[in-house]
């Protein structure tokens, strides 16, 4: 480092051009510690501004060390801010911290969204949540204050967190039109409540609503998902192969015979093809069952035109819904249980089960 030169330059006049002579030194220092280019540039600029402001007060010969200390403090406070932010985010919203280059911008947006989401909670929910998450008050003492059991407080906190995650994500999508089904579905997903998800028919809503489909990703990523359940989006030919291979792999965990695995894969291929050929798309969900027996359940949902006469479609040779004439009765023959529910204009859900032959 040529310590003398820029310091002398600054001490002579304190002019802006002299401070500018510090730029290479500060840049090298900052960039070796901050990997994000944009953030590093911001810190260099901020250091220079502070150097200009302090120019008259800095001892000659001390300019460069002063600049380095200033830059180091700026970096440290940036880390501290980020760390605090990450901690709070984890505690209250529990979403992954953004890692994109415009992290600073996202942080600003985040704070607004968290505030907005908190606003949408009920007064009681918000106060309890803040007391627990921010002030660190435990459920036992909260229970005493609220006159309920600690278990009830914990349940309320879980509900509030689930709602807060939803409201936070919605606050990041300002101006999006919500249907009256969106919030109940998103709350059920966010809470990881399978029974509630079935009650509000969450799976079908996700097929029909682009917004909820998009928001469901971050919600489901952190929710309690069952290992024994796999979901495959069905849109194109290749998805048919993916669906049947996935079904085979999942079912193989129950040690079905090789023949049964192929039978299951063939049935999945048939019903997934109906989704590709006759609808705008859908999904196949493969789920392992333990009760009443071990088995595999496959659900295919689509957002298609629906089938007018399901009974007729289950008979061989049915042709008004081309392909299904073969697909549905064939798949039914392959599986142990088979049910079709269809609603005109909304779509069709095929549910089929294969039980594991025990012994």
């Amino acid at each position: 480092m040529s310590a003398g030169q820029p310091a002398d330059a600054l001490s002579e006049s304190g002019s802006q051009s002299d401070v500018a002579a510090l730029v290479p030194v500060i840049r090298r220092f900052v960039h070796s510690r901050v990997s994000n280019e944009a953030v590093a540039d911001d810190i260099v600029q901020e250091t220079l501004v502070r150097m200009l402001a302090a120019a008259g007060r800095v001892e000659p010969g001390m300019v460069e060390p002063y600049a380095i200390i200033t830059a180091r403090n700026l970096i440290a406070s940036m880390w501290k801010e980020q760390e605090r932010h990450r901690r709070n985010q984890h505690r209250i919203v529990d979403l992954r911290s953004p890692e994109s280059p415009d992290e600073g911008l996202l942080q600003q947006e985040d704070k607004g969204a968290v505030a907005e989401a908190l606003e949408r909670l009920s007064e009681r929910d918000r106060r309890t949540l803040m007391a627990h998450e921010v002030a660190g008050q435990d459920t036992q003492s909260l229970a005493g204050e609220l006159g309920v059991t600690a278990g009830a407080v914990a349940a309320q906190l879980n509900r509030s967190r689930a709602r807060l995650r939803v409201e936070y994500l919605l606050a990041l999508e300002p101006g999006t039109a919500l249907t009256d089904r969106c919030r109940p579905v998103l709350f059920a997903l966010s809470g990881g409540d399978r029974r509630r998800q079935r009650e509000v028919d969450a799976a079908r809503h996700l097929l029909e609503c682009d917004l909820c489909e998009k928001l469901s990703q971050p919600l489901l990523e952190r929710g309690q998902r069952s290992d024994g359940e796999v979901r495959i989006r069905i849109r194109a030919d290749a998805d048919i192969v993916l669906a049947r291979q996935t079904a085979r792999e999942v079912a193989a965990r129950l040690e079905f015979s090789r023949t049964d695995l192929t039978v299951i894969a063939t049935a999945v291929s048939e019903i997934a093809r109906n989704v590709v050929r006759f609808t705008d798309g859908g999904e196949v969900v493969v789920e392992l069952l333990e009760e009443p027996r071990r088995g595999v359940r496959i659900v295919a949902r689509d957002t298609g035109p629906g089938i007018a006469d399901v009974e007729a479609a289950l008979v061989d040779g049915y042709s008004t819904y081309h392909g299904l004439g073969l697909g549905l009765p064939g798949a039914r023959r392959l599986m142990d249980e088979f049910a079709v529910v269809s609603e005109m204009g909304r779509g069709t859900t095929v549910t089929m089960t294969k039980w594991r032959q025990e012994g």
Binding site: I240, T262, R273, L334
Partner: protein, 134 residues
């Protein structure tokens, strides 16, 4: 096909074509295979076609129908088709599904398939030794 390892290979063996499916095919790949094979039958004036499907994971309604189509189109171009290598579990599922290769003859493996073609192509249509899966 375009990139990556070949999904299907079609080899010429004298007046026969031997087509091997190397992996699970989706519907559009199946259609492409049908087109390529029919085109080559015409190009080489092949008399016999063996399709080895041992690597197929399933033969569902579409797969079975495509094999029947290939056989029918080949017949119209003067070639006899035999399907070889249908795995026992795949055959079981085809029967349970209610599908079959219809009138398309099947044989256990490549060797049997060649023997079948040899008899049929050189001694006329009466000498059928292959079995039909139905």
């Amino acid at each position: 096909m375009d990139t990556g390892p070949a999904l299907v290979s079609i080899l010429r063996q004298g007046s026969y074509l031997i087509a091997s499916v190397h992996t699970a095919l989706d519907d559009s790949q199946m259609v492409r295979f049908q087109q390529d094979l029919i085109e080559q039958i015409g190009q080489h004036r092949s008399r016999g076609v063996i399709i080895d499907v041992a690597a197929l994971d399933v033969l569902d309604s579409f797969g079975s129908k495509t094999l029947r189509n290939i056989s029918e189109m080949a017949r119209l171009r003067g070639a006899t088709t035999v399907i070889v290598g249908i795995q026992p579990d795949v055959a079981f599922a085809m029967v349970a599904l209610g599908m079959s290769t219809g009138s398309v003859p099947t044989a256990l493996d490549l060797e049997e398939g060649l023997a079948y073609l040899h008899d049929r192509v050189h001694t006329g249509p009466s000498a059928v030794t292959g079995s039909s899966l139905s």
